[in-house]
């Protein structure tokens, strides 16, 4: 298998080098929809659908190719022989092949180089080539196999340094030949060290621009694509979910007044997201990061006629902008920390090799964490995410659940060495990231309890689950975090689209308490797919969420038997801390672990509440519907156009449901089929990363274990920290599942008793909260969302736009301008004075003219009132023209 990988690396698959086509297709689609969409029979949606189909096909092909390179089935003990063959081949071509690394097998299937000198030496000798400098000496050296050719590395180093001696003209000639349309700087990085490698990134770069010419501060900024397991994983997720959302939307948004715009933005979003995912440089990452933010802005505010929607859009964008301060500064710090480069692979390499100093890494990681807090809804910058539900539901599923909001998590993974080393504060060994994640996961879970709007429950649930991912990454459980991102995308998209289907049936309301109840009888397909999604979210085996959640809890290495054998958190090789291990074994992550367990219970409980309120009891939506306020306002005009549009293509009796008092009904097939596909994914994707013990116990082929890990987590590339993996534990799995089941039973019992009393009821009138003041207080805090919104919009935003801005403007008008006007008025007085006493008194040519000039300036200001300024303007023009003429022709 590894032989295959090695061969494949030497002739990089076409798709990996040309992966830029994937984001380019939806970008083109966006432009086409904007240009001609409205004139087409399906109003532009056909372009969107065609483009997403192409993206889907290419992504699947890329995924297949990637998986094929690494192997569909694994089993490292058998593979190691082949792996050796691969190594041998390399050592023939490569002088550095000697000095075989001591490979430590911590857990089955994991191998990493320990921090001995030879590996460090290697990483030092191999900076990732820069597309801006690589081709200056070697001309059109297309696709230089970087890792195999040590000479070319030296050449590149030389070409960088020789720039300084080259004459300016030669360097400048180089600049002009480099352009986007000439990807001659294309280079492929395929690390091939003397030890087992897996999942090397394939980078195809071209020079974006250069700065500093041939000076000592020269730096070349490249743009291109980086293909590795992580980006392939996201490619897979984005293309599938975006594709399903496109199909779903053709029904759900049908008849909307901005149907064409909607599809244009979906295409733009897909393009921006894929662009970001495939970024090879941090600068490019920033571009993609903000572009997805804009699409989110546009889609949240899709129904911008109503102020609450545009408010929500603004809030989302501005909150993210606050986080972006951290993004910009963090990337800047990294740029300088890594000796002026934006290349992700190079930054990672330097971080792993310990070439960036700890302070730079820590500051950068902290700053970037702010960006992650805003984009991925971590406490305390999560408040925009629930408000973002003002957008159409398919958008919530795609952007605000499955893809865009995980951008922050994705970035942690993308720059994992930076975060990993950056947050390892020597001595304290407290990982801030795990703590933020833990706080978010519990805080979000609690808020999900008090919502009446089904989408808001799901939104807070997303916040909570994103916290889970960050928690995992903070504990060093990289694969667990990424795996949870992967599984969460499917089941949360399934839930959001399910909620959309429900509201489609219930007069476009999302209010569980007043408009839902008993829906399982009316819409069985939606009910069952929603149940599967819920089960996956709760972590019920064998659904997807179970596997990923379990892995995260295992990753804390707190539960007895889960800790890896490595002692201590740090490897101190004498040159500073590096290759820091998780060190969970010493109980560092006890608090995050407890947070994780609480969330497991909370998730099960609030989702049971949703299920009970929505699908059980009696249907409560039969009454009048004029009073549900703005909650569903955004969907009403979609609904208005909806009815007539539906008659033509669906025969499922939409109309009665839209009429008041009608019973709900199942949605059309373009809604239910995506639901079923997602439910299917939510049930099976968990099997991609089964622990080997489980695989053995079931008697399955050993190669089926932890496939996801092998595909996504790179090993031995020199660009990824060596993480030790926790050991799975059956008892922990049983414990966590038990927690969930108990919560389900308790909450279910509560509602069963309630419904037995009154099937239309949604809460006890004499509930616990009304009896115990502390509980009531807690309830109030939750109802007010921890008062964060009051702080942000009331105190901070209000203070800035109100008193602060007014004060600044007052200074402007009264002090700064006051000075100017005073000077002007003084000029007038002076002018009058001079005019009266000098000009009129002493007739002297020189004095006369200077007095006139001063007088003029004064009289002009007075002329504002008197209205005679035009006469003076003529005079003024004449005088100045004379001066200019004198200057120009005074030979």
């Amino acid at each position: 298998m590894f032989l295959a990988a090695a061969e494949a690396a030497s002739e990089t698959p076409w798709i990996f080098e040309n992966i830029w086509i994937v984001p380019a297709i939806p970008a083109l689609s966006f432009l086409l929809i904007i240009a001609i969409g409205k004139r087409l029979p399906m109003k532009g949606s056909e372009i969107g659908l065609a483009s997403i189909a192409a993206v889907f096909a290419l992504s699947m092909f890329a995924t297949y190719t990637w998986v094929d390179q690494i192997g569909f089935t694994g089993g490292h003990s058998e593979e190691s022989a082949e792996g050796d063959t691969g190594d041998a081949e390399y050592s023939e071509t490569e002088s550095l092949g000697g000095g075989v690394q001591s490979v430590v097998l911590d857990t089955p299937g994991f191998a990493a180089a320990e921090g001995d000198e030879s590996s460090e030496e290697k990483t030092e000798s191999k900076p990732v080539p820069n597309a801006c400098f690589a081709d200056e000496d070697t001309g059109d050296s297309d696709d230089a196999e970087y890792g195999d050719d040590v000479d070319s590395a030296d050449k590149d180093a030389e070409s960088q340094s020789s720039d300084e001696t080259d004459s300016g003209t030669e360097a400048s000639a180089g600049i002009q030949t480099v352009s986007l349309t000439n990807p001659s700087g294309s280079s492929v990085y395929a690390a091939s060290d003397g030890y087992e490698t897996r999942g090397e990134a394939i980078i195809t770069d071209t020079c974006w621009f250069k700065t500093g010419a041939d000076s000592s501060t020269a730096s070349g900024i490249s743009v291109g694509t980086l293909v590795d397991g992580q980006s392939i994983m996201m490619l897979f997720v984005v293309s599938i979910i975006s594709g399903l959302v496109h199909i779903y939307s053709t029904d759900y948004v049908n008849g909307d007044r901005r149907y064409t715009h909607y599809f244009a933005f979906l295409s733009l979003f897909t393009a921006a997201m894929l662009f970001m995912v495939l970024s090879s440089s941090t600068l490019q990452l920033i571009v993609g990061w903000e572009l997805v933010g804009v699409c989110s802005f546009g889609l949240i505010g899709h129904w911008w006629e109503e102020k609450p929607n545009s408010d929500a859009a603004l809030k989302a964008f501005l909150t993210n902008r606050v986080g972006d301060i951290g993004l910009l500064i963090g990337m800047i710090v990294l740029y300088f920390g890594a000796e002026r480069t934006f290349d992700i692979a190079e930054i990672n390499r330097q971080a792993v090799a310990g070439e960036i100093n700890q302070l730079h890494l820590s500051v950068a990681a902290l700053c970037l964490m702010t960006a992650i807090m805003s984009k991925s809804g971590q406490f305390v910058l999560h408040t925009w995410l629930p408000d973002a539900m003002a957008g159409p539901t398919p958008v919530s599923a795609l952007i605000h659940a499955a893809t865009m909001v995980v951008a922050g998590v994705y970035m942690i993974g993308r720059l994992y060495p930076v975060f990993w080393e950056g947050f390892m504060m020597p001595g304290t060994n407290l990982n801030a990231m795990a703590f933020i994640g833990g706080l978010t996961t519990v805080g979000g879970g609690l808020l999900a309890f008090v919502q009446r709007d089904i989408k808001k429950v799901l939104a807070y649930s997303t916040v909570s689950q994103l916290g889970y991912m960050v928690l995992a990454l903070g504990m060093g459980a990289y694969t667990a975090g990424m795996f949870h991102l992967f599984t969460h995308a499917f089941f949360k998209a399934c839930l959001f689209l399910g909620a959309g289907s429900v509201s489609h049936a219930c007069h476009h309301s999302f209010d569980m308490k007043s408009d839902m109840g008993g829906l399982r009888k009316y819409m069985p397909k939606t009910f069952w797919t929603f149940m599967i999604g819920t089960g996956a979210l709760m972590g019920i085996p064998p659904l997807a969420g179970f596997w990923s959640k379990d892995e995260i809890l295992v990753g804390a290495q707190v539960w007895p038997g889960t800790s890896s054998e490595k002692p201590g958190a740090f490897v101190d090789d004498g040159e500073g801390f590096w290759l820091a291990a998780t060190g969970g074994g010493d109980g560092t992550f006890t608090i995050p672990f407890i947070f994780g367990c609480i969330t497991a219970a909370l998730t099960a409980a609030y989702m049971t509440r949703v299920i009970m309120l929505t699908f059980f009891g009696e249907y409560r939506g039969g009454g009048a519907h004029d009073d549900h306020g703005h909650d569903d306002a955004h969907d009403t005009h979609a609904a208005a156009d909806h009815d007539d549009a539906h008659d033509t293509h669906d025969a499922h009796g939409h109309d009665d449901a839209h009429g008041h008092g009608g019973l709900p009904h199942e949605s059309g097939s373009r809604i239910t089929i995506p639901l079923m596909i997602l439910a299917f994914m939510a049930s099976v994707v968990g099997f991609l990363n089964m622990p080997s013990g489980f695989v053995k116990a079931l008697g399955l082929p050993e190669g089926w274990a932890h496939r996801f890990e092998d595909w996504v987590e790179p090993v031995g590339t020199g660009q990824f920290p060596a993480i030790d993996h926790a050991k799975p534990s059956l008892s922990l799995a049983v414990f966590a599942t038990g927690l969930g089941l108990i919560s389900i039973l308790v909450v279910r019992g509560y509602y069963m008793k309630l419904f037995a009393k009154d099937p239309m009821a949604t809460e006890y009138t004499d509930g616990l909260a009304s009896k115990f003041p502390p509980l009531r207080a807690l309830h109030n805090v939750l109802e007010n969302k921890y008062y964060l919104d009051h702080l942000y919009s009331g105190v901070i935003a209000g203070g800035t736009t109100g008193p602060l801005a007014r004060a600044a403007y007052w200074v402007n008008q009264n002090i700064l301008d006051g000075i100017i006007n005073t000077v002007g008025k003084t000029g007038v007085l002076l002018g009058r004075f001079i005019y009266r006493f000098f000009d009129q008194g002493v007739v002297d040519g020189a004095v006369n003219s200077s007095g006139q000039a001063a007088g003029l300036s004064g009289q002009f200001l007075r002329g504002v009132q008197s209205g005679q300024v035009r006469n003076y303007a003529t005079l003024m023009f004449g005088a100045t023209a004379l001066i200019v003429a004198v200057f120009m022709f005074a030979v």
Binding site: G168, S172, A173, I175, V178, S179, L180, C207, W208, F209, T211, G212, A213, S215, T217, S219, V287, W289, E290, L291, V294, G301, W304, E305, S310, F317, L318, R321, D324, I325, L328, I329, I332, V333, Y335, F336, T800, T801, L804, A805, A808, Y809, N812, L816, I820, S857, F860, L861, G863, V864, V869, R870, A873, M876, F877, V884, F887, M888, A890, V891
Partner: protein, 520 residues
């Protein structure tokens, strides 16, 4: 022919617009059609000729051009006698630093004239209006190509007059106050600048006003640092007021608000750049040591301007005034980039100038079109633009996004690299201080997003008020608007994704301008 154009090309480009002026002088003012045709034709010919000239750019610095010119005429460099008695010569050149700005001028002027074809502001008189526009064109081009201090000064001042009249005659209700404020304020700065130029001439004692010659003279001479700092101070006043830098910006909101649309566009797109261009063309290369002394102060004023301008925007109730105030903030980024005295910073500054010219120019165009339709720019009364004129609304949306520095659009490349450069300013400057500036500037990006999106929300989103609901005058983008906007919009997009188009041109000039920084 080539020889002739090498010798006269730049001069022809600069004075071509005056040819049009001469022709228009002879035609009575009633013949508006022929005035418009001549003005547009002149601007287009100038643009075409200039564009052809710019293709001869070969990434050579002025110094190299001058050296090559010794042996025979080279393109993009001309030197001839002008006023020998005061040692002023007619030295003009185009290098990487001026090229983007010349290109911007060559592009914007015809577009503004196209827009004017059916938008001559009250009280009419297309003849005078367009003549002034062409005179302005010559002034702007001349300032960007001048390589001699006297020549630079003359062109710098030539620009002032047409703009003064444009505001004073064709402006809004408060035009007289605004125009005189603009004129006197700038003239005040220019006076100090002229004193500095003369002092420089006297101090170097080399009997030349040539920029390269002066730079060499200062580098090899022994002018006391204190004197240099004073001379720089005079230039700072001249250029700083023009930029405008906080606290000398108060003329700008008035001038912008009162100026006719075309005036605002030219003012924002090109005139503000004369100041920043002066810094990087004259002040930094000639007085590198004084620049080091001044840089922390300039940087400080720049970041104050960023925050202050943004706060000023948040307090505005008039759309045009808001856009005007945003210029104070945006030029703050440009000045911050310059103050770092690094190549990245200067590159960012030049990019920022071009981007600001395109974007803010567009915003003023849009404001003008909204004013045409609604007859007001009071934000409170607007709203629902997207309902009534969807294309205009989306263009406004795109431009606000570009203006707030969205990556992928042109504005980002002026802003982010300037912030980046502040992390590590040139050697002699204080890193700590500039890192504080960096953080403040980064915070400014949030405020920029706040005031621009708030503007977008209040004008474009929502539903139209009863006042304008059925107003037949409110129509979508018209043909002349499309023609004059599309090039700008395309550039905003293209530069956003291919920033190398500008960076690769400016880079070596930026390095060249900084070669004497920190040498002593």
């Amino acid at each position: 022919m080539t020889e002739f154009l090498n010798e006269w090309g730049i001069t022809i480009m600069v004075f071509l617009p005056l040819l049009g002026v001469a022709a228009m002088m002879l035609i009575p003012k009633e013949a508006e059609g022929s005035h418009k045709a001549i003005a547009l034709g002149t601007a287009l010919v100038t643009g075409g000729f200039g564009a052809w000239l710019l293709t001869k750019f070969d990434d050579l610095s002025v110094e190299e051009l001058a050296a090559l010119n010794e042996t025979g005429n080279v393109p993009l460099y001309e030197s001839r006698q002008w006023i020998p008695t005061i040692k002023a010569s007619f030295d003009v050149a185009i290098d990487g630093m001026s090229l983007p700005l010349i290109a911007l001028t060559l592009l914007v002027t015809p577009l503004v004239i196209i827009y004017s074809l059916n938008h001559i502001p009250k009280p009419g008189n297309a003849k005078m209006f367009l003549i002034l526009m062409l005179v302005l064109h010559t002034g702007m081009l001349g300032t960007f190509v001048a390589q001699d201090l006297v020549l630079f000064f003359v062109f710098f001042e030539v620009v002032l007059l047409p703009m003064y009249f444009m505001i004073g005659v064709w402006g809004g209700p408060d035009r007289l106050y605004a125009s005189i404020k603009f004129f006197l304020y700038t003239l005040f700065g220019s006076a100090l600048m002229l004193v500095s130029f003369l002092a420089l001439f006297a101090q170097t004692g080399q009997e030349t006003f040539n920029l390269v010659g002066l730079a060499e003279a200062v580098a090899s001479g022994d002018i006391p640092l204190g004197t240099q700092v004073l001379i720089f101070g005079g230039m700072f006043m001249g250029f700083g007021i023009k930029v405008p830098m906080f606290p000398f910006h108060t003329w700008l909101p008035d001038a912008h608000t009162q100026a006719p649309t075309q005036g605002s566009v030219i003012l924002a797109a090109v005139l503000l750049k004369l100041g920043t261009y002066g810094f990087i063309r004259i002040a930094l290369p000639i007085l590198p040591d004084a620049a080091v002394e001044w840089a922390p102060w300039i940087g400080g004023l720049a970041v104050i301007g960023i925050i202050y301008g943004a706060l000023g925007c948040l307090a505005q109730t008039d759309m045009k005034r808001l856009i005007a105030f945003s210029s104070v903030a945006h030029m703050g980024y440009v000045m911050l980039g310059i103050a770092t005295l690094t190549d990245f910073g200067i590159n960012a500054a030049i990019f920022g100038m071009v981007a600001h010219g395109l974007i803010t120019g567009m915003l003023f165009f849009i404001a003008g079109s909204i004013k045409d339709r609604y007859h007001t720019l009071e934000i409170k009364r607007l709203g629902g633009l997207l309902v009534q004129a969807p294309r205009l609304g989306w263009i406004l949306g795109l431009c606000t996004m570009a203006s707030l520095g969205l990556p992928g659009l042109a504005g980002f490349w002026g802003e982010f690299p300037a912030i980046l450069a502040a992390y590590q300013p040139a050697e002699p400057l204080s890193e700590e201080l500039f890192r504080v500036y960096m953080v403040i500037a980064a915070i400014g990006t949030v405020l920029a997003a706040a005031y621009l999106l708030w503007l977008l929300q209040r004008t474009a989103f929502g539903t139209p008020s009863d006042e304008f609901k059925d107003d037949p005058e409110i129509v979508d983008v018209k043909l002349t608007e499309w023609i004059s906007w599309v090039p700008l919009l395309i550039l905003i997009l293209v530069l956003g994704f291919v920033p190398g188009l500008i960076f690769d041109i400016t880079d070596s000039s930026a390095v060249e301008a900084l070669k004497n920084i920190g040498v002593k």
